[in-house]
Symmetry: C2
Subunit: 175 residues, 2 copies
Amino acid sequence: MRKLSNDELFRKTPSEFKEAIKTPLVLVLDNVRSLNNVGAVFRTADSFLLEAVYLCGITGTPPHKDIQKTALGATDTVHWKYFNSTLEAVAELKSLQFKVYAIEQAEQSQMLNTFQIESHQKVAFILGNEINGVDQDVIDVCDGVIEIPQTGYKHSLNISIAAGIVSWEVYRQLL
Amino acid sequence: MRKLSNDELFRKTPSEFKEAIKTPLVLVLDNVRSLNNVGAVFRTADSFLLEAVYLCGITGTPPHKDIQKTALGATDTVHWKYFNSTLEAVAELKSLQFKVYAIEQAEQSQMLNTFQIESHQKVAFILGNEINGVDQDVIDVCDGVIEIPQTGYKHSLNISIAAGIVSWEVYRQLL
């Protein structure tokens, strides 16, 4: 099982990336503090050819060296947009016919392992601040809450890892 | 959809964690350089109640403040073990009847979306160095290579995010 070299990976060029049909998923970062997390989310969005990343409130935006350190060039390919408030981002996504879900632990949340993406349905997932999670005001205007089931001591995943898991789940279901 | 407070999450205590039946998955870190990545892997291993994390070669070990910063206490719950070389870790896992897979992009790799865990089969996933990936010598002694399919520009996920995705996939299939 010979490891493949970079030349063998059929990687898209940035212009091929921009023209490609995307995975119909937008990741929305609700006041994410860590620029390393922002960069890591860009890198994941590049890997799974996501529609866009929306950066809201205190979430940092490219270009920034601490985003670049973990994004490793993915800010050149992935479409992104900044909003002063996450509520504005949700309003725009709803006007564009996205179904908007918070990734949280809440009453009546749907467990990720039971979530089934409908074909032709565009979705957006909101990932919250490292300490406070997704704001309750934002949850209140979402179409639903999706929860990553967990059974350990902390019940808390890093936000960039949670973003990776939920993005994989959509990408996997559409493969 | 009211957000749950920490008191409502049915979190295990560290001693309940240690006694619980685990997800039969060991994550093996093959010369991972970043202590932030090591800590993040511990946090994920806690969330999904994994069997253990094996730290090999140059991979840092707890206690260390840069591991603690991203592990957030998960080093107190998750079982871990250090090996001078990843080959020794693989040998031990095989002697314990684990099936051992490298997470890599290789000839004849199996795509993660087609990977099906067999019931009662213990598995180990090896995640490689940030630059060089899993060493070819290690791949050569594995039972297989599992690849996370990617379609973007970089074809490269952060190792802690790759670890999160493959751990979720095993956890999800066993739920």
